[in-house]
Symmetry: C2
């Protein structure tokens, strides 16, 4: 959706490295925004995005208008059913994932990619897309890439720019809380309620929408004793929802090899 | 869906002629049957189907079980919205087209075909699939093939075998009625109500579900003065719904060149 930051940069850099041709799309997809969400105000930074993609060696950028992607006669929806899309983000944003799967299916039709790169930041989205790809036998490998963070640990997000100074100062505690829980898991703590409580306690004073432990394949909630997976949190700061998640174990990272050295530091 | 007849044969023969590799699928797709429809009793003639496909030179046949196509974790639906799927067949079979688009999207993912061949017999289905392909930018050319008929004019259908002797004897009147209306259009009749009435009068005594005049691109109903398009009829004979349609003009045939000589005569 543009408003690119170093997290997107890591996806492009890896795609560039692992493939002969590397393409990107910039399209603020109205179908994945609900009523009252920030479609109108979503940051649009096309010139900076194009400069960044050029620097990273992207061969092709699709910049679609709404009319390009969804002409008047457009009538198709690609939609999942069941807990994978009704849990977590799906419970708060009931039309969101249908908007994502519809546009991603179309982008896969347009690009016919061998591999497509998505971040673990939107973990549920990544698993929804993998489910769609498996279900429709779309011939693409969906590569999950580990979350890229600011120096203070805040997960990169196009929506971080909505935060005021005070909120941005508090935001690193989200990542700290997740790391605390992961360390506890690595130290042998297998009780889901204890791991979640640890996050809630560290984030005392935050407006938390949910803290959950989930499988990195099925997205099912992890039951006691909690096995490998990721711990997720959504904190609301003013009107901005900050999503973050963290692997309990190194095996639950996005990929066997995390190229965290691809991109460093702050947003461009 | 198997139970192949010479109409299917014409699709395969044409695909064989126009492509280097020719593939077919046989799968009685439960998702496109509604409650109370004939999923359980739908004819299954796998040995004969395979012999026919071999004779026609098909290189590959996918024979899927329900578990192959829809494993337990399957959660995706590809679905159209709007008049293209709520009119005509969609009004009688509200879940039908979502079942069709879901399985066809998956078959396109599995086969990655350059061209896919569908009959004008299921005209609405053909246009629904074209809409899906355009909407999702699926890189396939959807080729419409003209209806293949028995010597007495009855449109070939796997469900014709449900007809008893008396119903089968009356069935050719359906095609006759459509030809009458097409001739009247060619003779200058442009009033939709007159053209439809002509079909109803010729089919006096039949249980008609609908008689409609529709565009071969948008499937919209043709308004006075009726331009090029096709006239459709659905007649119910006992529990069997017989669908047929006919071009008002030669330009509304499935393709510029109709290879009606591909396949002749009766079902194998």
């Amino acid at each position: 959706m543009g408003a690119l930051h170093a997290g997107h940069g890591a996806l492009v850099a890896r795609a560039r490295r692992e493939n002969d041709i590397c393409a990107a799309s910039i399209f603020v997809n109205p179908k994945q925004f609900g009523p009252g969400e920030d479609f109108e105000s979503y940051p649009r930074t096309e010139d900076a995005d194009l400069a960044m993609l050029r620097d990273l060696g992207s061969d092709l950028v699709l910049i679609g208008t709404n009319e390009d992607l969804y002409p008047e006669e457009f009538a198709t929806r690609v939609e999942l059913k069941g807990p994978l899309v009704t849990a977590a983000e799906g419970a708060r944003r009931p039309t969101h994932f249908a908007g994502v799967t519809t546009v991603v299916a179309k982008l896969f039709g347009l690009f016919e990619p061998t591999r497509a790169y998505f971040g673990w930041k939107d973990m549920q989205q990544l698993l929804v897309i993998r489910r769609m790809v498996d279900d429709l036998s779309i011939p693409v490998e969906v590569v999950g890439c580990e979350i890229v963070r600011e120096d203070d640990g805040v997960a990169m997000s196009s929506r971080n720019r909505y935060l005021d100074r005070e909120a941005r100062m508090r935001a690193p505690k989200i990542h700290e809380a997740l790391v605390l829980a992961a360390r506890a898991w690595q130290g042998g703590e297998r009780r889901a309620e204890r791991l979640r409580a640890m996050v809630r306690e560290h984030l005392h004073g935050f407006d938390l929408e949910y803290v959950e432990l989930r499988s990195t394949s099925s997205f099912e909630e992890l039951q006691d004793p909690v096995g490998p997976g990721r711990i997720l949190v959504v904190a609301r700061m003013e009107t901005t929802r900050l999503l973050d998640n963290y692997p309990l174990d190194s095996l639950s990272e996005g990929t066997a090899t995390v190229h965290s050295d691809d991109v460093r530091g702050s947003t461009p």
